[in-house]
């Protein structure tokens, strides 16, 4: 083991890499603390907590059951979406490649659907499928499906025609050609498609979980986690947990027409929130110009309060909507 570590660190590339990461963390720390040290706020990074705080928060999260449950849940969704995409995508791509008529019929609609970003499917997916889990799995499926199909199709179409001719000359039947030449010839592209598809699946699954409100059994964690961090931990409060639990219960409720109203509510909320933000901005600009230029601490506390209020606003809004629905 020590021997392994020694060889690892004797490697210039490794040392350079480790050094680069250390420098990055130091720059991050300086960037996030610059405000306190000098009073000058760096755009963007000035709002980010220092690396030490983030690491401490991470340690706090690790023992929590829900954190690991969220791993399991996301992993399950990714695997489901990915496997279904492979099972449907590979034969579909191969069929597109080998059969002219199949391609003529299915390729044009495929090409119309393909450019739609997977995340744009989230609202439609929430309405299509009876449970949250299925909606998320569907969106992750879409993330991988189109990439896999395009790779398989491209790979199968670019097989050297000499291979097919040689095999045919040697007496291979159409079925032999497919199983012994087209399929192995496409395998490299299948693996490329799978690798890229898997990456997209992980990107999509978190976003889908956030937008759809997560799911059940602690599976709503990423969403909960993000909001909790955003409104609770980062900005100094930690008490909206009850609201989140209430929110999770809401997602368990079996889906029906109510969900369309819920979606509508969500959209309305986002709109109103943006509007409020714009209003607040004008407000502070006109009414208290000295505040924004003055003491930084006062400004920060003001932000905390308003962000917390906004999250409260959101959940009371949802609660009201729920009462209306009932």
């Amino acid at each position: 083991m020590t021997n392994f570590l020694q060889t690892l660190f004797n490697n210039t590339t490794t040392r350079r890499g480790v050094g680069a990461i250390i420098i990055f963390v130091i720059l991050w720390h300086i960037g996030s603390q610059l405000d306190e040290w000098t009073g000058y706020d760096l755009l963007g990074i000035g709002l980010v907590p220092p690396p030490g705080d983030v690491f401490a928060a991470f340690l706090e999260v690790i023992p929590l059951h829900g954190y690991w449950m969220s791993w399991v849940a996301s992993f399950g969704r990714v695997i489901t979406g990915f496997l279904v995409a492979m099972v449907i995508g590979i034969p579909f791509g191969l069929l597109l490649a080998v059969n002219r008529y199949f391609r003529g019929v299915f390729f044009p609609p495929f090409e119309i659907l393909r450019p739609i970003p997977p995340l744009a499917w989230v609202p439609a997916s929430l309405i299509f499928w009876p449970t949250n889990e299925m909606s998320i799995a569907f969106v992750t499926f879409l993330g991988a499906f189109f990439t896999i199909v395009i790779n398989v199709l491209g790979g199968a179409r670019s097989i050297d025609i000499s291979y097919l001719r040689a095999a045919q000359s040697m007496g291979a039947s159409q079925l032999d050609l497919f199983w012994k030449i087209v399929l192995p010839g496409t395998l490299p592209s299948i693996f490329t498609g799978a690798a890229v598809g898997m990456g997209i699946t992980w990107e999509v699954v978190l976003a889908a979980e956030m937008i759809s409100g997560g799911g059940t059994q602690g599976g709503g964690w990423p969403w909960l986690f993000y909001l909790e961090l955003l409104y609770g931990r980062f900005l100094g409060t930690n008490s909206c947990r009850n609201d989140f639990h209430w929110h999770c219960r809401l997602s368990i409720v079996k889906r029906d027409k109510k969900d369309r109203l819920l979606l509508h509510a969500l959209a309305t909320f986002i709109l109103t929130r943006t509007r409020t933000q714009i209003k607040n901005l004008k407000h502070s600009e006109f009414e208290s110009p000295e505040k924004s230029h003055g003491n930084n601490k006062i400004k920060k506390e003001g932000d905390k309060r308003s962000a917390f209020q906004k999250s409260q606003q959101f959940f009371s809004f949802l609660a009201r909507r729920e009462q209306v629905l009932r």
Partner: protein
């Protein structure tokens, strides 16, 4: 030598009569082969020499059954391959092609590649085919590379294996499309000797397309010089150098004279092809 002569005239006689091929890719008719005729006796090594892009490969594709022909007939041992009413020949193991860029399946080892033909035709059981493939590869000097993939061996070895893969099917005709094109001179020499050795052993008819005039004379019984597009037979040069030939043959007076004769004919066509190319570009 004795083995070879006994097989001459027995099988693999190709008769190409008035073959014309017109491509019609996008409404623009391109005549690749125009009224081309040649007779190839069974067991003969027939070399086709002509400028690039003149339609030699088109002719080969017609014989192999990869393309249809527009007019004319091609017979193999008196049997019609393609002609009026049957524009495209059936692809069959009696006419095996060795491709310009190599077409060993990269996902199979050399042995699996060679065993593929007999296995898929079900003339041998997979175990028998594998054994025979191993034997034939060993005969070609590839006994130590049976389990290697085509990507792991040199291009010369891959070419030899590809010729073995063709020969295991007992073809009547071996169609080679510039198989040694991208090879250095030294490897080429080895390849030529290996091919001649194989030919002396099997006596298969060889239809060989090349740009290399020395190669053409060294290997061939006849050198057919074809014109620039559309491809027509311009001149046939008989190579009356006895077999088995060795590499020293190439420095003989006879060889040099033949080379001059072929060179004159080909050079004229090459100039024509170049001018035609200039016209097309302008």
């Amino acid at each position: 030598m004795a083995k070879n002569t006994s097989k001459v005239g027995k099988k693999g006689a190709l008769s190409i009569k008035n073959v014309t091929k017109i491509y019609d890719p996008s409404g623009v008719n391109v005549m690749a082969v125009d009224d081309c005729s040649m007779e190839i006796a069974g067991g003969e090594v027939c070399m086709i020499v002509g400028p690039s892009g003149c339609g030699k490969t088109t002719l080969l594709n017609g014989i192999a059954g990869f393309h249809s022909i527009t007019e004319g007939t091609i017979h193999l041992d008196g049997e019609l391959l393609c002609g009026p009413g049957k524009p495209k020949a059936d692809q069959s193991a009696e006419r095996m092609v060795v491709f310009q860029h190599g077409a060993l399946f990269p996902w199979k080892t050399l042995q699996e590649n060679v065993a593929y033909g007999p296995t898929v035709q079900k003339v041998l059981s997979p175990a028998q085919a594998t054994e025979k493939a191993g034997q034939m590869l060993a005969e070609a000097g590839l006994g130590n590379f049976l389990k290697k993939y085509p990507g792991e061996v040199s291009s010369g070895m891959a070419r030899r294996a590809e010729i073995v893969r063709a020969l295991i099917n007992n073809p009547k005709v071996l169609l080679l499309d510039e198989p040694y094109r991208a090879m250095d001179a030294l490897t080429k020499q080895i390849m030529h000797e290996s091919l001649l050795e194989t030919y002396d052993r099997t006596g298969v008819t060889i239809f060989f397309i090349t740009h290399d005039l020395e190669e053409a004379i060294f290997l061939g019984d006849k050198v057919h010089i074809v014109t620039t597009r559309p491809c027509q037979l311009k001149k046939t040069v008989e190579v009356k150098i006895p077999r088995p030939r060795s590499y020293e043959t190439q420095s003989s007076e006879k060889f040099r004279k033949l080379l001059e004769e072929v060179n004159d004919a080909v050079h004229e066509e090459a100039v024509k092809a170049f001018k035609a190319g200039e016209r097309e570009m302008a």
